[in-house]
């Protein structure tokens, strides 16, 4: 496919070589684009489908997280969904089954029992009337109304023995709503029952450690279950057997009723059809006999069955009483149900027996009627025989026409006469009867009333008995209820009492605590006060002593301080003076450091030292500032060097003595040089006390200066040199400056040293 594309593209490229170049690259691209497009669409489809699946998955998980019921549904519907949910969302939340109606309470071991019955239709039929009728009495009335329901009840009692407790327990549950002990025993599963007895039961259940409670409850449950199971087994067996027997009895009774009814029917038929043929009659009578036999048989059987049923019921009653004595709470419903079943069975038996009796009484009436008729017939027969002895017996079945052939006129006349007589007699009897009708009727009514009364009494007695039994059962139930309620109440009251007691104790203890605390505080305060006063006194004494000592010490200290201070001051001053002297000595020494022609070292450091050492001394400060700057920075020349230099100066000055400020030609220079060579003057001349203007001659001045220099009076020499003029002055200027510096410095230094000496003397005189 690609090769084809390439060829095509090449061909296209070759075709559109000229000017259509941009098309060529597009076409192969387009091919590739379409190729890619198909791949892209497949990819898109895959992507979209993945998205859908993922979305569905995620959506289910999210919704399951939000709605636990949906989660349950999904878990049930899809296998392994519960695992996925556990992994993603965590374990399913435990949902307590909420009771919608009292009849639909779910108790685990009961629910196991009720699983099968739930599915059966009869159970449904039972449960519907059971739930529809809140009171058990209504239910029983319903049962009494419908015999089929009763039969079904008992059939179910046989067929599904396990379910027997169930309907009763439904009723029983309603009665046990207030039972607290049962709830505590059954644990949290039965907490719904406690909703009426109070919610405080739940916290008491939860306060204990769940494992312990569970174990204990499990053990209790186990034991009780065993007992109950055994009891239940016994009860069920007994119930089953008695139910069987009772059913048999009822069946027998029904059969008996049937037989009696059929017999009486047959008898009625036989009685009525007098005109039938002989064979039919005889067959009828035979049937009747058979029916009679059957009836007697069935009646006997019914009686036997009834006896057996009664025995069974007695046994069941005994078993129930034993179970009652065992007194296990959980088995009570079963016992009660058994009792009620027993009661129902008794009621059924009684009803059936009643029916049988009714049938029997009816049959008796028919039999009486039959007897009467038979007797009348016999009498008639006898009369007829007495009148017509020739006639054979058994002619009743014959027709009149046959009879007519056999009889003579006499016989006929006698017969007619007899018949007339009979008619008269009967008329008379009838008249009598009519007269005595009312009496007869009254007596019959009275008899009937009596019989009715009797029957009524019997029925009433029976009903009363049944009612009594019912009432007894009800009473038992109510007693149980009341007992439970009372127990609960007593428990609450006891709890209240305990709470009240604890409150009272708490109050009493609080009061006591306060009293004791007050006492203790008082004691404490008292003791504290004593201690305080004592300690205060002690401290006061101590303080006084201490103050005295302190004062003395203080005074001494003060004296010592003063002495020390004065000492310190004196020493300080001495030190300062010493320092000053030292620094000035240093300065002096520096002055002597001039070696040869070099100046001294700069006096700056020494002056700094002086300034530092005695900063507060104004005299020294001023003096040290008075030192010329050149001496500080450069140092001064010593006298010796100055002296030596002076001689050089002297020479030069002599040479340029004639040069003054005005004429300074070289000729003058030459002349002055000549003059210096020629002029002789003493090298040293003692300067006079006063100077005259003549003495201001250069040479003289020089001589004077030399003299002064030789005698160490630099100052005077400098003064003389200062008088020079002109070029000589210029030549000697530097020397003069130096001399001046040196003189200044020495002056200042000498002042300082004098001062230092004075101060030192001053300080040392303190001793």
């Amino acid at each position: 496919m690609l090769r084809v594309c390439r060829n095509v593209s090449r061909a296209v490229a070759q075709q559109c070589l000229c000017g259509k170049a941009p098309l060529c690259p597009l076409q192969p691209l387009r091919r590739y684009a379409t190729h890619g497009e198909s791949g892209g669409s497949a990819g898109k489809i895959v992507g979209v489908s993945l998205l859908f699946v993922g979305g569905g998955f995620g959506g289910t998980i999210l919704y399951a997280k939000w709605d636990p019921k949906f989660r349950q549904n999904v878990e049930q519907a899809i296998p392994y969904a519960d695992r996925v949910f556990d992994v993603t969302l965590g374990p399913a939340p435990y949902v307590l089954p909420v009771p919608k109606k009292p009849g639909q309470l779910q108790i685990p071991y009961m629910s196991e029992v009720t699983k099968e019955p739930k599915q059966s239709k009869q159970k449904g039929k039972k449960s519907e009337p059971a739930e529809a009728a809140p009171a058990p009495t209504l239910e029983e009335e319903q049962k009494l109304k419908e015999s089929s329901v009763e039969a079904g009840h008992i059939i179910s009692a046989i067929g599904e023995a396990l379910s027997v407790p169930a309907p009763a327990t439904h009723e029983g549950q309603r009665e046990q709503e207030g039972e607290h002990k049962h709830a505590a025993a059954a644990g949290g599963e039965v907490c719904e029952k406690c909703e009426e007895s109070g919610h405080k039961d739940l916290p008491t259940v939860k306060e204990r450690p769940p494992e312990e409670v569970a174990a204990r409850l499990a053990k209790q449950d186990q034991e009780e279950q065993e007992k109950v199971a055994s009891l239940a087994a016994i009860l069920e067996e007994a119930l089953g057997s008695t139910a069987r027997v009772t059913l048999q009895a009822i069946a027998a009774q029904d059969a008996a009723v049937q037989a009696i009814n059929s017999h009486s029917m047959k008898l009625k038929e036989a009685m009525e059809e007098t005109e039938a043929s002989v064979e039919q009659k005889s067959s009828q009578w035979r049937d009747l006999e058979e029916a009679l036999n059957e009836r007697s048989k069935t009646v006997d059987e019914a009686a036997d069955a009834l006896l057996k049923a009664k025995d069974g019921l007695e046994k069941l009653r005994g078993v129930i009483d034993d179970a009652k004595q065992a007194n296990i709470a959980r088995a009570k419903p079963q016992i009660r149900s058994a009792e009620e079943n027993l009661h129902n069975m008794l009621v059924d038996l009684d009803n059936v027996v009643k029916k049988v009796q009714a049938a029997q009484s009816e049959a008796k009436i028919v039999a009486q009627y039959h007897e009467l008729v038979a007797v009348a017939k016999e009498q008639f027969q006898k009369e007829l025989d007495s009148i017509t002895p020739d006639i054979q017996t058994g002619w009743k079945g014959l027709k009149v026409s046959d009879l007519a052939g056999r009889l003579t006129t006499d016989d006929l006349n006698s017969l007619i006469a007899h018949a007339h007589r009979r008619i008269d007699q009967l008329n008379k009897e009838l008249a009598e009867q009519r007269v005595r009708e009312r009496q007869h009727i009254e007596t019959a009514l009275a008899q009937q009333k009596m019989e009715d009364n009797k029957a009524l009494e019997m029925a009433v007695a029976k009903a009363l008995e049944h009612y009594r039994a019912e009432v007894r059962l009800d009473q038992d139930r109510k007693v149980e209820e009341v007992r439970e309620l009372m127990e609960v109440e007593m428990r609450t009251q006891l709890r209240r009492q305990a709470a009240a007691h604890s409150d009272h104790l708490r109050d009493v203890i609080k009061v006591q605590e306060q009293e004791i605390r007050a006492e203790a505080e008082q004691e404490l305060a008292h003791k504290l006060l004593e201690q305080e006063t004592h300690s205060r006194r002690m401290t006061q004494e101590q303080l006084d002593n201490f103050t005295l000592d302190m004062n003395a010490a203080y005074a001494r200290l003060k004296g010592m301080e003063q002495a020390v201070d004065s000492h310190a001051v004196a020493e300080e001053e001495a030190r300062k003076a010493h320092q000053l002297w030292l620094s000035i000595e240093a300065l002096n020494y520096i002055l002597k450091t001039a070696s040869g022609d070099k100046p001294t070292e700069p006096l700056d450091t020494a002056v700094q030292v002086i300034k530092a050492s005695c900063a507060e001394n104004e005299f020294t400060q001023t003096l040290s500032t008075a030192l010329p700057k050149e001496s500080l920075s450069r140092g001064v020349y010593s006298e010796a060097s100055l002296r030596a230099r002076f001689y050089t100066i002297r020479k030069l000055v002599r040479r340029v003595a004639m040069i003054d400020e005005t004429r300074n030609s070289l000729y003058q220079y030459f002349l002055s040089y000549l003059q210096s060579l020629l002029l002789m003057e003493p090298q040293q001349l003692k300067p006079p006390a006063q100077l005259s203007p003549e003495d201001l001659d250069t040479f003289k001045l020089l001589s004077y200066a030399t003299y002064c220099i030789e005698h160490g009076d630099l100052e005077l020499a400098a003064k003389f040199v200062n008088q020079l003029k002109g070029e000589s002055r210029r030549v000697a200027q530097d020397w003069l400056n130096e001399a001046r510096l040196t003189l200044e410095t020495t002056q200042v230094v000498s002042l300082l040293s004098a001062y230092a000496n004075a101060v030192g003397l001053g300080t040392t005189q303190v001793k």
Binding site: E661, L666, V731, W735
Partner: protein
């Protein structure tokens, strides 16, 4: 040092003199050789000029400190 100043001045002066003399001499010799047919007067002239210039410079130098160009009226 001021006393050394004079000496320095003299040194300069002499140096200058020597230079000028030499230069003058040289020039004189050159001139004399070149232009003046080996006569001595250019040499002398040259050296004289040199000396004179040196002298003048020297003098100027010695007067330099004051630089008084004003007339000085001598007291009588």
């Amino acid at each position: 040092m001021s006393e050394g100043e004079l000496g320095r001045k003299w040194d300069r002066c002499l140096a200058d003199c020597a230079v000028k003399l030499g230069a003058g001499l040289g020039l004189g010799i050159v001139f004399s050789v070149l232009f003046f047919k080996r006569r001595t007067w250019p040499i002398v002239l040259g050296s004289g000029m040199g000396l004179g210039m040196a002298y003048s410079n020297c003098q100027q130098d010695f007067q330099a400190p004051y630089l008084l160009h004003g007339k000085c009226v001598k007291e009588q």
